[in-house]
Symmetry: C2
Subunit: 328 residues, 2 copies
DNA sequence: CTGAAAGCGCTTACAG
DNA sequence: CTGAAAGCGCTTACAG
């Protein structure tokens, strides 16, 4: 900027005025500055600008589990659209489900003075986030609530989705409904299992713990579990799968064994309607999660004191065939 | 930092020494500083730090077509991993295939003084990038080459992939092979069509222009084209589809019409092996694209003068069934 | 309409 | 081992 000022024969302040389109600069002066700017290839340093202005860096951080996962990238996309409307840029980081990595990324983002963060949390203790929130960094949690602190959160109605899946299978005559999943510790899975239990109980069916197979995934895990569930005296006639991975694995076993088993899978996926039978799913809306979280974040950035909000977004049962197979 | 210095009763410089773990600070002094830091919730402002140090902001920008697309998010993931190894943070932006938007994002990134950018270009004139490259911003293009400037690029072997697809269908006895795609203007599609032509020509088969249906997608486009290709006196017995969208659309029509047509699709997709018949594809490796681009970028950031590189990554034909259907 | 001085929160180069 | 001064590239508040 000093070079531009010298080149144009004006003061720093005048250059500043011109590059920021402030009113009250003589036309000729402005022209000289513009010429100097383009001759020198000058470009305002927004880092210095933001530092001096002392407020916003006009950037937000998105901390997801894994940006390569469809749900995370859809969420990020929605956040980016909202950020654009507010003139903000988006930093991304993948925690890889590691609370330590999550905290490192959080720290790096805050040191860069992002105005706020949208977090799909991996850990379950976010008191380190609360400290920064006190100092003015906004944070909204998505998909899972924050741990040990009060903070805005946008969640899917996981329990409701599971209830809908079970109710649907019950309506088609099933009584032996299994649930298969992995990562039992995380919030959405716990909620879904709770929803499963609730729906059965409400229907007056005793929950058979042997039909609940939610455990850390291991080699060959699903295949063995699938065989377990489908064989024996009193086999499952229907399955609710709690992740795409489980859905696909279960379908493979069912097909290989030549069984007819009803299936409702959690999370919609590309070409779920090209499979035979097409897969009935409980769909979440990751873009809506991102959009809602972003609007919460920007609302918080705009208004100093807001009460903490928890928003739960509905899930949707999409019937395509696999969930409408009757019991034998 | 001033507050911390006052609180600890030391100078600014000493605080700086402590928070940056510089050697040569008395233990007791350091302890006092640390205490002040945690009492005040102090956190080093990396924005100011980077400004003063005058070099790197330790951040890079990733400019993709659409972060919600699987290929883009996989690429971004790989870039993020590399960035992490180099202590860099990642800014993302989706151009939505709009050259104007691409340029705006580029400009915003450069104003934030990212050290470099990885760009999946939408436009075909990147002279505005060259200007910044001269001033020290590194840039690597991915998936498509830069337009009107010389720059590093990492590409997939699109032509080779298309040749492999056609050769595979020829080997299974097909002579009437169609190619169906959208977005004819973009580089990967042009390359694939060129590969298609080359393979047929090499096999001594005259190219029938009626079998090349690559056009901007319109309502009902694919379905009508599919019917066109599959009917008439001399129908296509095999199809190469140039995108997931086309693959899925074509499969739907084929299934609805009860045809037996061989198909090789461009780009692998989730559950392509659960469809009946499982889908033979030409797979790219978006993570490898991202990884390679990132290592090129960081190499360029490390070494002042490097010659410009263009790296072409191989594609892979994955046979699963749909591409091995013989002609009637 | 234009400019000189101070300052954002840090680090660098130097002195003690 | 510790500190006072200058400066990174801008903007703010004030004066002319």
């Amino acid at each position: 900027m000093v070079d531009v000022a010298r080149q144009a024969g004006v003061s720093l302040k005048t250059v500043s005025r011109v590059i920021n389109n402030e009113a009250g600069v003589h036309e000729g002066t402005a022209a000289r500055v513009h010429e100097a700017v383009s001759r020198l290839g000058f470009r305002r340093n927004d880092v210095a600008r933001n530092l001096r202005r002392g407020l916003s860096t006009a950037s937000i951080g998105v901390l997801v589990e894994d940006i390569a996962h469809t749900a995370c990238s859809a969420l990020t996309w929605a956040v980016e659209q909202a950020a654009r409307e507010h003139g903000h840029l988006v930093l991304v980081g993948s925690s890889d489900q590691d609370p330590v990595r999550e905290r490192e990324l959080f720290s790096a983002f805050v040191s860069r003075r992002v105005d706020g963060l949208i977090i799909v949390p991996a850990g379950d203790d976010h008191r380190y986030v609360a400290r920064e929130m006190l100092l003015g960094t906004a944070a909204v949690f998505v998909d899972r609530p924050s741990g040990r602190i009060a903070a805005d959160a946008v969640l899917s109605d996981n329990a409701g989705g599971a209830r809908a899946a079970v109710d649907h299978l019950l309506a088609h005559g099933h009584r032996r409904i299994a649930v298969v999943g992995e990562r039992p510790g995380i919030y959405p899975i716990r909620e879904r299992v709770a929803g499963y239990r609730a729906a059965l109980t409400k229907a007056g069916i005793a929950v058979d713990e042997r039909l609940i197979r939610v455990d850390r995934a291991r080699e060959g895990f699903t295949d063995r579990i699938a065989l377990d569930l489908l064989e024996g005296d009193d086999p499952a006639t229907a399955v609710v799968t709690l992740s795409n991975l489980m859905t696909v694995a279960m379908l493979r076993t069912i097909r290989r064994e030549g069984r007819r088993v009803a299936l409702v899978g959690f999370d919609d996926f590309e070409s779920s309607d090209l499979i035979e039978p097409a897969v009935t799913v409980v769909a979440q809306d990751p873009m809506a999660l991102g959009r809602t979280a972003a609007s919460l974040l920007f609302a918080r950035l705009a208004a100093e004191s807001r009460s903490i909000e928890r928003i739960v977004l509905p899930t949707r049962l999409i019937t395509r065939g696999s969930g409408e197979i009757p019991p034998p």
